[in-house]
């Protein structure tokens, strides 16, 4: 810095100034839209995001390797720029910006918080190495999870539905959700057991997540207990993020065996298809804070009926009076307010499954957001404050008309999760506007979800694009005949080849095939003719005990 001070005004930039200037350019172009030109987290896009973009002027960083309350290391900031933050709107920039630009941005970001200049870069904590995951460790971790009351925010199944949920706020007073621990691909600091352990040690500054390093140092808990806890948390999520497939398969079961309830054990064996849901930001009024981010779909049919079991995570059974304050806070901070202002209100949770009214011939389908005036869609609509579900016809999200009849439904909210079974005959009671399910053909299907306690209804909710559901048929007999024919043909051919080779061998004077005693077998002839000569003779296949003629 000293060298900088003696430069006359207007003189050439020092290398440091030049880097900071480069950092400013890159920052203003790629970061300021969310984080603000002043670094205060108030860029033009900030109001459309929850959690909000980081305010760099406060010097608080969630993902660090340093103790709670400390500034991060340079490497910590670089890691966030490079890899982004899963579960938030922050993307990784590693493949987008050059190393030099990212370094420059890092230095520029630090310049928003003066203590970075005066404080020495802190030493990262020593995290040691992860012990191996064992059933005992995971069980110990579960007990520890209960004893230090992680469930207050994360819920006792980890689905993020703890009783403090409606009150949680970040350092700037914005509503914040406790993460759903069963979806580790959405953990802000990464979902591996090492990363979970680090968050436990360092906490996540600016969020309600506390740091436990001090308690370890003070002897209130041991490092080993935190590793157990990290292993337990990791065990709540699947090994891999669910893969999205375009076709949901509905297997065929014996007649009358289609399950009617969510608790039916038949479902445990049925494959789950994960369908991602995202914010509805196309039809007015839009909604940029959807609570439901995906649904697992299972399907079965018996040739007469079809049943779907839908499983999605939801932090409350709406309408829940405890969550009214959450509605108020979310509505207050989320832009845009389009149409009439929305008031907090006891709203039910809702779910809808969408089909075309008839299976289309080609690829042409109704508009994926509940059709339009020319091409309506057929819906199964369910809501948490009513029994059963209703068939409906929609000509757009704002023009939904209930049809007569009903869809059988069984629903249960338990520990942060809805499960819903919807069931109908393949053949509709009345063909008007209602889909006739056919087997053996892909049928378009789409999904919608609303969390009432997150003020969602109408266009404010989560949507999917079109997927397909395929009702399996009994395979045609050729499926089983063809492999048998292939086996016999190939096997027969093999026997013929062997028999021919052995016959020729004998014809050429070997005469050893089928000889059970290898000791009397002479060395192979290198000089005999291998092809062209069918040696004649009538010897059988390889194991024919008859001597050569």
């Amino acid at each position: 810095m000293a060298g900088l001070l003696v430069l006359p005004n207007g003189g050439p930039l020092t290398a440091q100034e030049a880097d900071l200037e480069r950092g400013r350019e890159v920052y203003d172009r790629w970061c300021a839209s969310c984080h603000g030109v002043e670094g205060d987290g108030l860029g033009p896009a900030a109001g459309y995001m929850l959690p909000r973009p980081r305010d760099f002027t406060r010097g608080l960083y969630q993902i660090r390797t340093t103790a709670g309350g400390e500034i991060p290391t340079d490497d910590d900031i670089m890691r966030m720029i490079d890899e982004g933050m899963p579960g938030t709107t922050m993307p990784g920039w590693q493949d987008q910006l050059s190393r030099r630009d990212r370094e420059a941005v890092k230095d520029y970001i630090k310049s928003f918080y003066a203590p970075f200049e005066t404080m020495a870069e802190p030493e990262p904590l020593d995290f040691g190495r992860a012990p191996r995951a064992t059933a005992e460790r995971i069980e110990e971790g579960r007990i520890f999870y209960d004893s230090i009351e992680c469930w207050q925010c994360h819920g006792d199944t980890g689905r993020g539905y703890g009783s403090s949920g409606p009150e949680l706020e970040d350092d700037r007073g914005y509503p914040i959700r406790a993460v759903d621990l069963t979806k580790n691909w959405k953990f802000n600091g990464g979902g591996s057991v090492e990363e979970i352990y680090r968050r436990l040690r360092t906490g996540m500054d600016g969020t309600p997540m506390p740091a436990f390093s001090d308690l370890v140092d003070a002897g209130f808990m041991t490092d080993d207990q935190l590793w157990n806890l990290a292993h337990f948390v990791r065990s709540l999520a699947p090994d891999d993020r669910p893969r999205v497939r375009e076709v949901i398969r509905a297997d065929k079961v014996e007649p009358g065996q289609v399950p009617r309830t969510v608790g039916d054990e038949t479902w445990e064996e049925v494959e789950k298809f994960f369908i991602p849901l995202v914010a509805q930001i196309i039809i007015l009024p839009r909604w940029f804070d959807p609570a439901v981010d995906g649904v697992w779909v299972q399907a079965l049919h018996d040739g007469e009926e079809i049943a779907l079991r839908l499983t999605w995570h939801d932090r409350s059974q709406s309408p829940d009076p405890a969550w009214m304050q959450w509605q108020e806070r979310v509505l207050e901070v989320m832009e845009p307010v389009e149409g009439d202002p929305v008031e907090p209100d006891p709203r039910p949770d809702r779910f809808a499954v969408q089909f075309p009214p008839v299976i289309p011939d080609g690829m042409e389908r109704p508009y994926f957001l509940m059709g339009n005036s020319e091409r309506p869609v057929y819906l199964w609509q369910w809501q948490s404050d009513r029994d059963g579900a209703e068939p409906a016809r929609a000509r757009g999200m704002l023009d939904v008309e209930t049809l007569s009849g009903s869809i059988e439904a069984d629903a249960q909210w338990e520990a942060g999760r809805w499960q819903l079974v919807l069931r109908r005959n393949l053949e509709p009671s009345d063909s008007e506007g209602r889909l006739h399910f056919e087997t053996g053909t892909p049928i378009p299907i789409a999904f919608f979800a609303w969390d009432g306690d997150n003020a969602e209804e109408g266009p404010r909710g989560s949507v999917s694009s079109w997927f397909f559901i395929y009702l399996s048929e009994d395979p045609p007999p050729s499926t089983y005949v063809a492999p048998v024919v292939a086996f016999l043909l190939t096997g027969g051919l093999g026997l013929v080849v062997v028999a021919r080779a052995q016959r020729r061998e004998r014809a050429l004077g070997g005469g050893t095939t089928g000889d059970p005693d290898p000791a009397v077998h002479p060395p192979p002839h290198d000089d005999h003719r291998d092809d062209g000569a069918d040696g004649g003779g009538d010897s059988g296949p390889e194991d024919d005990p008859r001597p050569p003629p």
Binding site: A279, I281, G491, T513, D515
Partner: protein, 259 residues
């Protein structure tokens, strides 16, 4: 071991397997380690390559009489030698089983989505009506290209983009916004030579104003999540965001030929 390495039959097998490994996994995964981009080799191309390798190996083993004989030795041994009887039987069962499995895999009913052919940049209409005003697209220019209006266009466009487009098209205009994964087809990237660089600004303006619902049939309008932005934005704002896209992506629009 050394005997095996010197034997033409095992050499041929080794070359064949090594070629397969190299084509299947080496081509996609080795160049990225050295900083180059690469991609998986399509299976039809793999088959072509492997056929070539196979023919090459056959030419090599058969071009010399002694080598050809040695090459055939293990095969003949397997077929006739009594002490190979057990291996022979295993082969006679395994190979037909493999064929049965391949056949089953080919004939079993498969669950696949119907193939959708979709034109990404379908032909545009000659004119559109926006906000009650009829606009002929040919020759239509972006008002923010006028001298002195660039900065205004960029500033306004930036705000519009990050409040409306970014959730799908991404911070970096690469089509990887935080909601992009939920839509099929995926939101288009706006940077790079194959995207809006090929289009005139009036085409981009048409796509923004009319969105997915305004696509012709070959553009699969029922699937597109692109809103018809004329419901949200003024024509001025749509021109501004068009201007911003080209500036931010660092590319130029196609221009109308001078008459």
């Amino acid at each position: 071991m050394r005997d095996y390495l010197r034997h033409p039959f095992w050499q041929a097998i080794a070359v064949f397997v090594a070629s397969y490994v190299l084509i299947k996994w080496g081509i996609p995964y080795i160049p990225p380690l050295l900083g180059f981009s690469s991609a998986m080799v399509p299976s039809s191309v793999i088959i072509q390559y492997m056929l070539t390798v196979g023919v090459g190996i056959l030419v090599w083993v058969s071009d010399n009489e002694a080598r050809w004989k040695r090459f055939k030795e293990p095969i003949r041994n397997l077929l006739v030698r009594p002490e190979r009887r057990r291996a022979r039987r295993v082969f006679l069962v395994l190979v037909p089983l493999l064929m049965a499995f391949v056949t089953y895999d080919a004939v079993r009913p498969k669950v696949t989505a119907p193939a959708g052919l979709r034109s990404v940049h379908p032909a545009n209409p000659t004119s559109i009506t926006v906000n009650g005003e009829s606009l002929v697209l040919e020759g239509l220019e972006n008002p923010f290209r006028e001298e002195g209006r660039e900065e205004e266009g960029y500033e306004l466009g930036l705000e519009i983009y990050y409040q409306n487009c970014m959730p799908c098209h991404g911070d970096y205009l690469d089509g990887q916004g935080h909601y992009a994964h939920g839509y099929n087809p995926l939101p288009l990237p706006l940077r790079g030579g194959g995207t809006i660089a090929q289009l005139t600004e009036s085409y981009v303006f048409w796509r923004i104003a009319k969105g997915g619902p305004g696509l012709p049939r070959e553009g699969a309008p029922w699937n597109s999540a692109m809103p018809a932005w004329e419901a949200f934005l003024t024509p001025e704002e749509m021109w501004a965001v068009t201007f911003f896209l080209y500036q931010q992506a660092g590319i130029s629009p196609r221009t109308w030929d001078e008459h």
